[in-house]
């Protein structure tokens, strides 16, 4: 499907690369070298069989194999996503739990309304505002994510804080809202009342009875947000000039570099599928009522 979308619709590849004023013979020669003048099915077969074996073809624009580029970009994106998740998962859950424990008090209002407001803003808008505050006015953080060569782990982390903040803000609202809803439901349940009535300390009730039940739906939400995160990465990586999978797709789309574009999107599809599967697995580990494999 990705192949069809990328390959069939856009017309003449050689023309797109060489521009409207190139000689028709040059265009034909380039098309032949790239193999895009072969019948569609032949192209599809060589592409998909190559992909399975780890050969993603050759970039039309860079004239280099696609696979190393995609893998490097994916590695960079995973770093950025890891920083964003490492920040947002604990803080988002904490925010939701605190909001639920202070239900309908001012603190709950602030967390819920604040979370909702930052969630609905496009990433590049929060990104721009954060760059202005922390990068331009306060000069605390670098405004681009391109760290110097041979930068160590902490230097890289330092450069990744600002780009991960817009992703953090968008995800914070979702995670906090789910954690809050889960907590409210769990606090209202019979087993919590039983635990309180049998005289357990409030702290124990929260840790052992409420949290374990409340956070299950939140885990599912975190996993489903991977799909969103990928869309967000395209924007954030462009804004911060970061060499990740999002900016790779964006550059490939602008330059009509189809092997690169298709491989990038297919890679993202695989990451998404793995994340969803991992979430299902984690869910079944945490919730003894659901077991994979159908045993009774």
């Amino acid at each position: 499907m990705v192949f069809l979308g990328g390959q069939v619709l856009p017309g003449n590849v050689g023309r797109a690369i060489l521009g409207p004023f190139a000689d028709q013979r040059a265009v034909d020669t380039l098309n032949h070298t790239l193999g895009v003048d072969r019948p569609l099915l032949t192209q599809y077969w060589s592409w998909i069989s190559g992909f399975v074996q780890g050969d993603m073809g050759t970039s039309y624009v860079l004239r280099r194999p696609v696979a190393p580029e995609v893998i490097r970009a994916l590695g960079n994106s995973l770093k950025l996503a890891a920083v964003a998740f490492a920040l947002v998962v604990p803080i988002g859950i904490l925010g939701g739990v605190v909001a639920a424990l202070n239900l309908n008090r001012p603190l709950d209002r602030i967390i819920s309304l604040g979370g909702l407001s930052v969630t609905v803003l496009p990433e590049f808008v929060t990104g721009i505002i954060l760059i202005l505050i922390f990068g331009v006015w306060l000069r605390w953080l670098p405004i681009s994510a391109a760290w110097p060569r041979d930068a160590g782990f902490f230097t890289q982390l330092y450069y990744l804080i600002l780009p991960s903040l817009p992703l953090f803000l968008v995800l914070f609202g979702y995670i906090a809202r789910m954690a809050r809803a889960g907590m409210i439901e769990a606090l209202d349940s019979d087993y919590t009342r039983t635990a309180v009535l049998k005289g357990l300390p409030w702290r124990t009730v929260i840790w052992r009875h409420v949290l374990r039940n409340a956070l299950l739906p939140t885990i599912t939400v975190i996993a489903t947000q991977t799909g969103y995160l990928i869309g967000g990465l395209v924007v954030i990586e462009t804004l911060f000039r970061y060499q990740g999978i999002g900016s790779l797709i964006f550059t490939a789309a602008r330059g009509k570099d189809f092997p690169m574009l298709e491989s990038g999107i297919l890679t993202i599809g695989i990451v998404y599928a793995v994340a969803t599967l991992a979430a299902d697995f984690l869910y079944s580990v945490l919730n003894p009522r659901i077991r994979l494999g159908g045993e009774q």
Binding site: V120, I128, V235, K256, L261
Partner: protein
């Protein structure tokens, strides 16, 4: 005829109809009124903006390029000397044309699909639902990127891409509402009168599923504004020389390292206010319907 008679007789004197009820609930909702005021402000700017901007939003003035905010230029000027204040005011026009049209397309297509799948169920429902689910699994930005690379950039492409990406989500909402409605007696009555399936769907069921459609439409409008702004920022949406907010940010953010903050901040705040305004309206409607 008989149907309207009975409802008028059964309704106690002085009681208002359901939509009047909703209207009065909204008028009491601070959330709704705040959001509505923000959105109304930008709609007025979009419609009549050029009549009260101090400068022509497209006129360049190279000598005064990149001047910081001052008494003459409240929000400063951009890299070819265009007045940022005028551009921000008129910049609401394209996004407020494209996003609502995309939402309208999504609502019409989604409602039709949802009514159809929810009413007929069976194999047709299964097939359409699976196709829609597959469609929803791909992030909108990626779909839009592919479609726009393939079809070329124009406002029409953006409207169609966003409209069709959002239609499955609306279809899902409508379908679940229809599944509940179709079990009710009035649908059975219509079927016993041998009304056509079309009549039953659009004349009998549709008016009863308007509230969830209304909520879903306003939610989608928020996301549509988000999507249009993002696509314009990426260069795949609204095209120059439009003073569109996302486009202006994309043209100017390369220079913020040099301290020219006024060329992007006001556009960013404008997008933020519009998106939050639409979401406040959504929250207000949701709250009023739940009471």
């Amino acid at each position: 005829m008989s149907a309207t008679d009975t409802t008028t007789q059964e309704r106690p004197i002085g009681r208002r109809g359901p939509y009047a009820e909703l209207f009065f609930a909204l008028m009491r909702s601070g959330t709704f009124l705040t959001g509505f005021a923000i959105v109304l402000f930008w709609v007025i700017c979009a419609l009549f903006g050029e009549h009260f901007t101090p400068y022509d939003p497209l006129a360049d003035d190279i000598i005064n390029a990149l001047s910081p905010p001052s008494a003459e230029h409240w929000f400063g000027t951009d890299q070819i000397g265009r007045d940022v204040f005028s551009r921000v005011i008129v910049g609401s026009r394209d996004i407020l044309t494209v996003a609502p049209l995309a939402t309208l397309l999504a609502t019409v297509a989604g409602t039709a699909l949802g009514l159809f799948t929810g009413y007929f169920r069976g194999i047709a429902d299964d097939i359409v639902s699976r196709v829609l689910e597959a469609f929803m699994a791909i992030p909108v930005v990626i779909v839009a990127l592919l479609a726009i690379v393939a079809l070329g950039t124009s406002k029409a492409t953006v409207i169609v891409v966003i409209g069709l990406s959002f239609a499955p989500i609306i279809a899902r909402t409508v379908r679940s509402a229809v599944l509940a409605e179709r079990e009710l007696d009035y649908v059975a009555a219509a079927q016993l009168r041998h009304e056509s399936a079309f009549h039953t769907m659009f004349v009998e069921i549709l008016p009863n599923v308007i509230p969830p459609i209304l909520v879903e439409t306003t939610v989608r409008l928020g996301y549509a504004i988000f999507a249009v702004a993002t696509l314009s920022f990426m260069g795949f949406g609204i095209q120059p020389p439009s003073p569109d907010w996302g486009l202006s940010i994309s043209n100017n953010y390369g220079m913020i390292g040099g301290g020219f903050w006024w060329t992007v901040l006001f556009d960013a705040l404008a997008i933020a206010s519009l998106v939050i305004g639409v979401n406040l309206v959504t929250d207000g409607i949701q709250g009023a319907l739940n009471d």
